[in-house]
């Protein structure tokens, strides 16, 4: 019986569990809407630039081509330099997704390592890791990101790094609380009795059990990272070379698009952000309810 319990405990919470949770999220109406929104975004980001390439240097020849409403030639009008907003928006989807996904990867890695360490280690190292996590948790995120970007620089890689390194604290907390309860379980005592090292116990036996929780959290962190990038770029701290939706809205704001009634310049990038963020949020919310036993049946 005991052997069955061990197998069961690990089997339930590995990659298979993550896959099962995705299936459950798909079965939920809210989750399914999220998947559709994401599919739409990824389709636009992957196929769009091939069909409608955007050339940032393709500016309008005359003053009359600046901030023009939609025409047959420019389906969503032109921006403050006379460039095609439709193509610019499609190209911006790539930057937003790229930053969101890579920043989240950094955040997940940092959050998982710190969370595992803080939860598993009983000594001063664990306590110190927890204090550092708490410290980052109380720092106001947006001011911190702004300050770091203003000091370190505005290239795409710096933005990814800054967003990733400022958003891991909540993940670390979630992982830690889960590890705290896992390390008291009998099956961990058993593998320890068999002579497994601490590193092996955390990586092989504890990590797979935390994976579904990390995955649900990841999806929500992606939504947050994309919002952070958009906000940073809107505040003029984006990468000037790689135009994202936030950068577009920054220039739209700078040239007073709202006051000039240039809805075609304000709506496409904004709707793009809302669609992708909403997609990740809906899936993350659904996954959270599935993996978090306290939230189940809500």
């Amino acid at each position: 019986m005991a052997a069955v319990a061990i197998v069961d405990e690990q089997d339930r919470s590995s990659l298979a569990a993550v896959r099962a949770n995705i299936g459950l999220a798909w079965a939920d109406p809210i989750g399914r809407v999220g998947f559709f929104l994401l599919a739409l975004t990824f389709l636009v980001a992957l196929v769009g630039p091939v069909l409608f390439p955007f050339n940032p240097a393709d500016v309008g020849a005359t003053a009359a081509s600046i901030l023009q409403p939609p025409t047959a030639q420019h389906w969503l009008g032109t921006d403050e330099l006379g460039r095609d907003v439709f193509r610019e928006t499609i190209s911006g989807s790539q930057i937003s997704l790229l930053v969101g996904l890579l920043a989240t990867a950094i955040s997940m890695l940092a959050g998982t390592v710190v969370g595992l360490g803080a939860g598993y280690s009983r000594g001063p190292i664990g306590a110190l890791m927890m204090r550092i996590t708490d410290f980052f948790l109380v720092l106001p995120t947006l001011p911190l990101i702004i300050v770091l970007a203003a000091i370190i620089g505005q290239s795409l890689s710096v933005i990814i790094l800054v967003i990733g390194l400022t958003s891991w604290a909540s993940t670390a907390r979630i992982v830690r609380s889960q590890v705290l309860s896992l390390r008291e379980r009998v099956f961990i005592d058993r593998v320890r009795a068999l002579g497994a090292t601490d590193l092996r116990i955390t990586v092989v036996h504890i990590l797979p059990n935390v994976l579904p929780l990390i995955f649900a959290n990841t999806v929500l962190v992606i939504a947050g990272s994309i919002l952070s990038e958009a906000t940073l770029a809107f505040l003029g701290l984006g990468d000037p070379v790689h135009v994202s939706w936030g950068t577009m809205l920054h220039y739209a704001f700078e040239v007073g698009a709202a006051g000039r009634g240039a809805w075609w310049y304000l709506l496409p990038p904004g709707i793009g952000i809302v669609v992708v963020v909403l997609g990740f949020t809906l899936i993350g919310y659904t996954l959270d309810r599935i993996v978090n036993p306290r939230l189940r049946n809500r």
Binding site: I30, V138, I146, F234, L278
Partner: protein, 324 residues
């Protein structure tokens, strides 16, 4: 006595966190960016002796530990340095701006708390119905809105298209007010769109937390007891359910403060609201480091202190913690 010990532990943690933030801030602004003199001298051909004099003036000829101690002393005496662009003491600028931000955030927060709790309670009480599902979906949608874009949309729709509200500043420029009431009459319309933006983007999370917390509480035994006593559904919900559901809402208020600070920066930027948020935006654009540094410190200290107050509040409202 355990209560006193809890209090002292929390107080100790806050002091350590505050010192950590100050040190972090020092490192961020005094060690990372390199030589501030180069920044100050970006305009021209400074002679080596001028540079040396500037270094001495700013205390940069001292060693880092000495600079750190001087920094701590300056902070303790309220000396936050001079702004590079305003040519005024940073503390004076902050003092002018902070009131506007507090006004904006107070109005928005009161609205978010009141509307959010009521909507969350109503949704939880009708759990599983269409109204509940609608509330959840609308909340998730608002949660996903970028704050700055929501502001731009409100400017476009309510400000430019319908001309319903002013879209910029906290008052009409160049107007001389004959009475405080006239000033208030000008101020309030300016407050509508910025606070509406904050309410829209911040309310979703509040509704969801209230709702899920109350759903938890409604399954507890004492709710069954209250029903069995013959209390009306309304009494069970508002007298027995809601107060107990407020605990998680209080603990997440710390998260909310961080959120609302970020919201203030965006909203004040979009609406040219003369507060702390617009200040940090302008300071970043002009790379006015002393101003950025002080604004960041002020934001961080505020969030830490609100966290502390939230801990105290928790102690006060939860008898389990109070008597533990």
């Amino acid at each position: 006595m355990p209560r006193l010990r809890y209090l002292l532990t929390k107080l100790g943690q806050v002091l350590v966190t505050l010192l950590a933030v100050v040190t972090f801030n020092f490192y961020l602004f005094h060690v990372l960016p390199g030589d501030p003199i180069r920044l100050l001298a970006r305009a021209g051909n400074l002679q080596p002796e001028d540079i040396a004099r500037l270094r001495q003036l700013f205390g940069l000829d001292q060693s880092l530990p000495v600079q750190y101690l001087v920094y701590l002393r300056d902070l303790a005496t309220g000396n936050l340095g001079m702004s590079l662009t305003y040519r005024q003491p940073v503390s004076d600028i902050l003092a002018q701006r902070i009131v506007n931000t507090v006004e904006l955030l107070t109005v928005a927060t009161v609205l978010v708390v009141v509307i959010g709790i009521v909507a969350g309670v109503v949704a939880a009480a009708r759990r599983g119905t269409r109204a509940d599902a609608g509330t959840v979906i609308v909340s998730l949608f608002f949660w996903s809105l970028p704050t700055f874009w929501t502001g731009l949309m409100l400017i476009f729709i309510l400000g430019v298209y319908f001309h319903a509200f002013p879209i910029s500043g906290s008052g009409t420029p160049g107007v001389f007010y004959t009475s405080p009431i006239a000033q208030l009459e000008d101020f309030l319309p300016h407050l509508v769109l910025p606070s509406l933006t904050l309410v829209l983007v911040d309310i979703g999370q509040f509704v969801l937390i209230t709702r899920s917390s109350l759903i938890d509480v409604l399954t507890e035994d004492f709710i069954l007891t209250a029903k069995a006593k013959g209390l009306s559904a309304r009494q069970v919900l508002w007298r027995h359910g809601v107060p107990n559901a407020m605990l998680p809402v209080v603990t997440t208020s710390a998260l909310y403060v961080s959120l609302v600070v970020g919201g203030a920066i965006q909203v004040e930027t979009v609406f040219s609201w003369p507060g702390m948020g617009r200040l940090i935006y302008d300071a970043v654009l002009r790379r006015d480091y002393p101003l950025i540094e002080a604004s960041f410190l002020l934001f961080a200290v505020t969030v830490i202190l609100v966290n502390f107050v939230s801990d105290l509040l928790y102690l006060w409202i939860d008898p389990r913690v109070r008597n533990a």
